[in-house]
Symmetry: C2
Subunit: 657 residues, 2 copies
C-alpha cells in the first residue's frame, strides 16, 4: 500500500508517474518543521536495517552514517563522503515487527542521518517542500515492486551493450581507436564497444569529432561490421565559441542556465568558458535532444552523458575575483590561517555552492533557482536524449548511461557509478551498490572496472573483472595520467582472455534475468537477507549477493588472497570456471565455507533446485552467442523450468532435468 504525504511540495520532479491520492493520516515518521527544515525522525532498535539510497558509500545496510543527496563531482570516493553523483532518495526500513519503504520526492538537497548523530535514530531533513511516499507490504520484494511500479519501468539498453566495453580518458585519435581494436584482435580478446572520451571531440565541443576522425561515417560502419560500436561522450556544458553553431543556437534562443537577470551565466568546464543548457526548460530540452541526431545519422547507437551534476571548475566571475585577491597577497607576511584561506579560495573555486545559487532555470517563463532543483540536472539531460531517441527511431533501443542521476532518470538511461579508484575496497563497493541501485530502479549499471582514478595493479584488474563479468555494464575505464589498463597491457593476457570469455558464457543468463527483473519490477541483485529473511546469519552479509534467481556471487576483493569465506544460506553447487569451455562443479551444503579462488579462477554458486543457461564457447562479441546452442549447468534433481529471454526478447521456456 502506498500513501503520499505532501509538505508544501516545491517542484514536481516527475520521478513518480502514477497519481497517488494525498493521505490524510499521520505519517509513520515523527514529523516536525523546525529551524526552517522539514524533519522526519524514526527510532531504530538494535536490529533495524536500512536498505536503499542507490549510488552511495558504505554498506548495503546504510545504517551508521549521514548521507546527503546533492549531486557532486568529486572522484575521492571514500567512506566518509556524504554525496556522490546521484540522488536516490528511497530507503527501506526493516524492523523486527515492521517494514516499509519511504521515498522523499524532492529535487533539492536532502540529508539522511541514519544513526550518525544519534546511533539509534533516523533523521531525514530538508529545507524545501516535498512529497513523501510511504510503502507498506508484507515482504521487502513487495515494497520494492510497488515502488518500482510508481516510478515507471527501468531503461533497457540494446543487446550489444551487454558486451565488453573498452574505455579510457585520453583516447584521442582515430589511430588510438584502431590501435585498441587491433590489440584486442591480435590477443583474441572479445570487444563490443569503445568509448570515446572528451579528447576525441573537436576542442571539447559536444557532438563533434576532432580532425583525426576523417570519413567518420565509413569508419563507424567499418567498425560496426566487426560488431564493435563507438560510444561517444556528451558533456553537459556547451563551449562558448562564436563559430560553434550549437552555442549560437543556444545563445539566440536563451536555452542556457542564466543569472537572476536572465543573462548568460558563464562557467568553466572542460571546454573552458561555457554555458549550461537548461535541460529543465522544455524547449531547450527538446532542442538539445535533437542534437544527438548528428551522431545518430552517422550510425552511432550509444552515448554516455558526463559532467552533468553539473560539475563546474569555476564561474567566470568568481575566478577573476579570487585570482585578483590572491595577486594582492604577494609579499604579505601572512599568518598561516590567511595562507590557508587563500589556498582554500582557489581550491573552493571547484563546484562552489555559490554558482548553484546564482544559476537559474527558465521553467515555463518563471525563473527557478538551480540550487533548489540541483539534483534533477543530470536526470533531465538523460530525458532530453531519451525522448529524442524515441522520436528518431521508436523501434530501436539506444545505449545511454549517465554519471549524474536522480530517480526518474532510471526510465531513460543506465548509470555508471562515477569516478571510482583502483582501490580493492572499490570492488566491494561496486558489489554493495548493485542491490541498492536496483531498489531505486537502476538496472543497467556498472562501475569502471579496474578503477578510474589512481594506478591499478594487474591482480586488481583481474579480480575486478571477475566481478564485472556479472554486471550489465562491463566497462574498463581509466583516467588520463594513470597506468594503462587495457587488458592487453598486462602480463597474464591469457587470464584476462579466460575471464572475458566467462562474460559471454554467462550472458544468456545475465540478459534474461535482467529483462525479467525490469519487466517484473524486481531485483537483479539482492542482499541475501531479502531472500533468506529467516536465516539470521544472512542479516549482516555485505560481501555476497544473489544474482538473478539462482546464482550467489562472492568475489575476492582483497589483494594477495587466494580464498575467502562464503556463507551459503542453502545447499549450492560451487562452479569453478577457468573459461567458457572449462569448469568444474562441486556440491556444497548450507553453512560456512572457506573457498579457494585462485587469481585465474572465477567461482560462483548455483542454488539447489536450479540450473542456468550458458554459452560454452569463446565469443568475440555478443553476436557470437548462438542461442540455439546453449548448455546448462544444473543443480536440480527434479524437473526445473527456466524461462529464458533471448537476445531478441523472445521468451523461451526450457524444462531441465
Amino acid at each position: 500500500m502506498i500513501k503520499r504525504y505532501n509538505y508544501n511540495l516545491l517542484y514536481n520532479t516527475g520521478s513518480i508517474i502514477k497519481n497517488i491520492e494525498e493521505a490524510k493520516d499521520k505519517i509513520i515518521f515523527d514529523y516536525r518543521y523546525d529551524n526552517n527544515k522539514n524533519i522526519f525522525k524514526y527510532e531504530m532498535n538494535k536490529n533495524t536495517i536500512i536498505y536503499g539510497l542507490g549510488e552511495n558509500v558504505r554498506g548495503i545496510n546504510k545504517r551508521g552514517w549521514v548521507y546527503t543527496s546533492f549531486n557532486t563531482d568529486d572522484p575521492d570516493i571514500h567512506e566518509t563522503r556524504s554525496s556522490l553523483y546521484a540522488s536516490h532518495n528511497f530507503i527501506i526500513i526493516i524492523d523486527e515487527n515492521k517494514k516499509f519503504g519511504a521515498f522523499f520526492d524532492t529535487p533539492s538537497e536532502i540529508t539522511f542521518d541514519l544513526g550518525y548523530q544519534d546511533i539509534d535514530c533516523i533523521s531525514v531533513e530538508t529545507e524545501n517542500g516535498l512529497n513523501v511516499y510511504i510503502i507498506e507490504d508484507d515482504s521487502i520484494d513487495g515494497i520494492i515492486k510497488e515502488f518500482r511500479e510508481i516510478i515507471g519501468e527501468s531503461y533497457i539498453p540494446p543487446f550489444w551493450a551487454f558486451g565488453f566495453c573498452q574505455s579510457r580518458w585520453g583516447y584521442k585519435t582515430k589511430e588510438d581507436v584502431l590501435d585498441i581494436v587491433k590489440n584486442y584482435e591480435i590477443n583474441n580478446l572479445p570487444l563490443d564497444s569503445i568509448c570515446l572520451d572528451i579528447d576525441c571531440l573537436d576542442n571539447y565541443k559536444d557532438f563533434t569529432f576532432n580532425s583525426s576522425f576523417d570519413n567518420k561515417k565509413d569508419f563507424i560502419t567499418e567498425l560496426k561490421n566487426k560488431n564493435i560500436r563507438l560510444v561517444p561522450i556528451v558533456d553537459a556544458a556547451i563551449k562558448k565559441d562564436g563559430s560553434y553553431y550549437i552555442y549560437n543556437e543556444m545563445l539566440k534562443n536563451k536555452y542556457y542556465c542564466m543569472d537572476k537577470d536572465s543573462n548568460p551565466y558563464f562557467v568553466g568546464v572542460w571546454p573552458g568558458d561555457s554555458l549550461l543548457p537548461d535541460y529543465l526548460n522544455n524547449n531547450a530540452s527538446k532542442w538539445f535532444g535533437s542534437k544527438y541526431k548528428e551522431l545518430l545519422d552517422l550510425g552511432i547507437e550509444g552515448f554516455w552523458n558526463d559532467m552533468n551534476e553539473p560539475a563546474l571548475f569555476y564561474s567566470r566571475n568568481h575566478v577573476d575575483e579570487v585570482f585578483k585577491y590572491i595577486g594582492e597577497q604577494v609579499g604579505k607576511n601572512f599568518e598561516v590561517e590567511d595562507y590557508f584561506k587563500n589556498k582554500g579560495m582557489v581550491i573552493g573555486l571547484q563546484n562552489n555552492l555559490n554558482y548553484y545559487k546564482e544559476l537559474y532555470h527558465n521553467i515555463d517563463g518563471k525563473l527557478i533557482r538551480h540550487y533548489d532543483i540541483h539534483n534533477l540536472y543530470g536526470y533531465k539531460m538523460a530525458e532530453a536524449a531519451s525522448l529524442y531517441f524515441k522520436e528518431y527511431n521508436k523501434n530501436k533501443r539506444y545505449l545511454l548511461y549517465s554519471r549524474s542521476s536522480h530517480i526518474g532518470s532510471h526510465r531513460y538511461s543506465g548509470i555508471w557509478t562515477g569516478d571510482n579508484a583502483s582501490w580493492w575496497n572499490h570492488i566491494l563497493l561496486n558489489l554493495k551498490m548493485l542491490p541498492s541501485l536496483n531498489m531505486c530502479g537502476y538496472m543497467y549499471i556498472g562501475a569502471d572496472s579496474a578503477g578510474f582514478g589512481q594506478n591499478t595493479t594487474e591482480d586488481l584488474a583481474i579480480r575486478w573483472a571477475e566481478l564485472s563479468i556479472f554486471t550489465p555494464l562491463f566497462r574498463n575505464h581509466s583516467a588520463k595520467g594513470t597506468r594503462n589498463q587495457e587488458y592487453y597491457n598486462f602480463k597474464n593476457i591469457d587470464i584476462f582472455r579466460n575471464i572475458l570469455s566467462i562474460r559471454y558464457m554467462i550472458l544468456p543468463y545475465l540478459y534474461s534475468e535482467f529483462i525479467k527483473a525490469v519487466k517484473t519490477n524486481s531485483l537483479l541483485y539482492k542482499p541475501l537477507f531479502m531472500e533468506f529473511s529467516n536465516d539470521e546469519r544472512t542479516r549482516e552479509i555485505e560481501d555476497e549477493i544473489i544474482f538473478g534467481e539462482s546464482i550467489l556471487l562472492a568475489p575476492i576483493y582483497v589483494q594477495n588472497a587466494s580464498g575467502r569465506y562464503v556463507y551459503l544460506p542453502d545447499d549450492y553447487l560451487e562452479v569453478r570456471v577457468k573459461n567458457a569451455k572449462e569448469f568444474i562443479t562441486r556440491p556444497l551444503t548450507k553453512g560456512d565455507h572457506y573457498i579457494k579462488m585462485n587469481l585465474d579462477e572465477v567461482v560462483f554458486f548455483i542454488r539447489k533446485g536450479y540450473a542456468i543457461p550458458i554459452y560454452k564457447e569463446f565469443a568475440k562479441n555478443v553476436y557470437d552467442i548462438n542461442y540455439d546452442n546453449l548448455s546448462w549447468i544444473k543443480n536440480n534433481d527434479n524437473l526445473y523450468e527456466y524461462t529464458l529471454v533471448d537476445k531478441d526478447d523472445n521468451y523461451r521456456t526450457y524444462k531441465i532435468k
Copy 2:
C-alpha cells in the same frame, strides 16, 4: 648471518650501530647501475611473501604495490599512496626454499616495487649511494632478531605511557584541559594523560604555553597528583619572531636549515614564516635538545614531535612567485588546461619538492642538500630530544613519540602512525601495521584511535577502542573541525567505560610482553604465518595477529557487523570480556569459526597451554593496578610458567596450574 654490500654510500644514517665488514661476494639481488640508479631486482614465485616496510599502506604481506620511502605529510591515507610519514627500508622475502631480510640503508628517496610494474618481480631503486644489509637465517624470527640487534635496542617509554591518553587538535586553554579531566572523572573513565596540541602554544612557538596556562608548574603538579600527565607537542619548525629567544639563538648560531648560500631559508608552517632547525648539525641538535629543559623543569615527562617530515605549507620565495603569477591571470580567457595549471601551482605549494632541493644542512662545515638526506629529519629530531633526556636525568624514562621516523629513531622514540581518518578500513590498517613496525624496531606504537581526520561514528569509536586497548600507545586523537570524539560525548558511555577497563585488565600482560619483546629483539605482534609456517591457511591471513606469546587478536573492522570469521591455527580459549571484572570463556578447536562479537564485547583468544595475567578490577589509571593482586585466565592443563615483567621492570616467575 649478516652481510653488508656497499654501493658508494652517500651518508651514514646511523641506523646500524654494529660494524659489519663489507662482503666480497655477489649480492642475492640482481644488481645493476642503470639510468643513474642503483637497481636491485629479484624474481618472485607464486607464493613469495614480502614482510616489512614498517609504516605503510596495504597488507602485512607488502606484495603487489610500489612503495616509496620519502617522508610525506599527507593525511589522505589510502591504498594507492606510496609514501607515508616514515622510511622503514627493511623487507623480508620469503620464498618456498629461501628466506632473507634486506635493509637498504640510505637517507634518500628509495622505491620498492614489489610486483607492481611486473607482477612477479621485485625492483628496489634509488639514485643515491647506499649500503645493503642481507640477513639470512633458518627462521623469520632469526632474521628479525639479527636485524634488530644491529639497529640497536628499541625505545622504552615510562610505565604511565601505557595508560589511556586523550587528545585533540583544538584543545586550547587550561579550562579545556580541566574540562576533559572533569568529564573523565564524572563519567568514571580512566585517564593517564592528555596531549596538548599546537593551540596550547603561545602563537605556535615551541616550548611555550599560551597565556591561559597560568601557574603552569602548579597546574602540572596538581594534575600529576591525580596521575594525569600533560604531553605537549613539539613541532619541527621555529617561528620567525624577533621577540622569541629560541629563534634569536638559532639565527645567531646559524642552527637553521639554509639555502645554498648559507642564508636562512624561510618556510611556512603553523607559526607562519619559520626556520627549520638543522637537526643533522651536531651543535644545533644539542642546542635544540636542551630546549626541552624548559618543559622538563616544569614537571613535564612526555612529548610528541610533529611536522617533522618536515611538513612545509610553502616557502617564502615560492608563495610570492605563485601568488604574483595568479594575480596576472585575472580576466584572461584561459583554456581549462591553464586553469588547472594555475590551480595546481597553488595546491603544489604544499610540500613542494623544490623546497627540499633548495634547503641545505651544515654537517661538519659541509653543506649537504636536504633532499638527499630528507628521510632522516624526524629521526634526528627525536635523537636530539632523547640524548638530552639522558643528560637531564639518566635514570628516568621519558615519553617521546614522533610522526616522522626512519629506522634508527626506534632507539629514541615511539611513533604514532600519522594522520589517519575515521575510516573502518583504517582499523584494519592499524592492525596490519603492528607486526610490520615491530620488524623495523618500532615497539611503542599506536594509531589515532577513532580516527584523526573525518567525522567518526559512535560504533567506529567503539570498535577502534576494542583494538587500541591492545596497542602500547592508546590515544584518542582527532582533527580540528571534526566531530568531538572524547568518549563521554557519545551515548553509550558505559560501553566505553567497560572497554577502557579492559585496557587496564590486560596491561600487566601488555607491558610484560612489550618489555620482553624489546629485550629479546622479538615481535610483540606477529603475522600468524610466522608462528605457524607449516599451516598454509595462515599464509594469507591479514586480519588476525598474534599478540605476545599466547594471545590471538581478531577485531571487528566492518560497520554493522556483530560477528566475523576467525581462523584459529591451534586450539584456543575464546575470552569474551564485558569489562575488567566480567568475562566468560569457551574452548575452541583449531580451524574456522564464525564468532559473534557484539558492540559491547571484546573477544580475544588464548592459545592452548598458556595463561595470561590480568588485573580484575576497574582502574582509574595505571597506578591503580595492583601487581600483588593479579588474576589469571588459564588455558593450560599442565604446569605453565610465565615470566612477568612488572611495572618496575622486575621479572617475576609464576607457575600456573
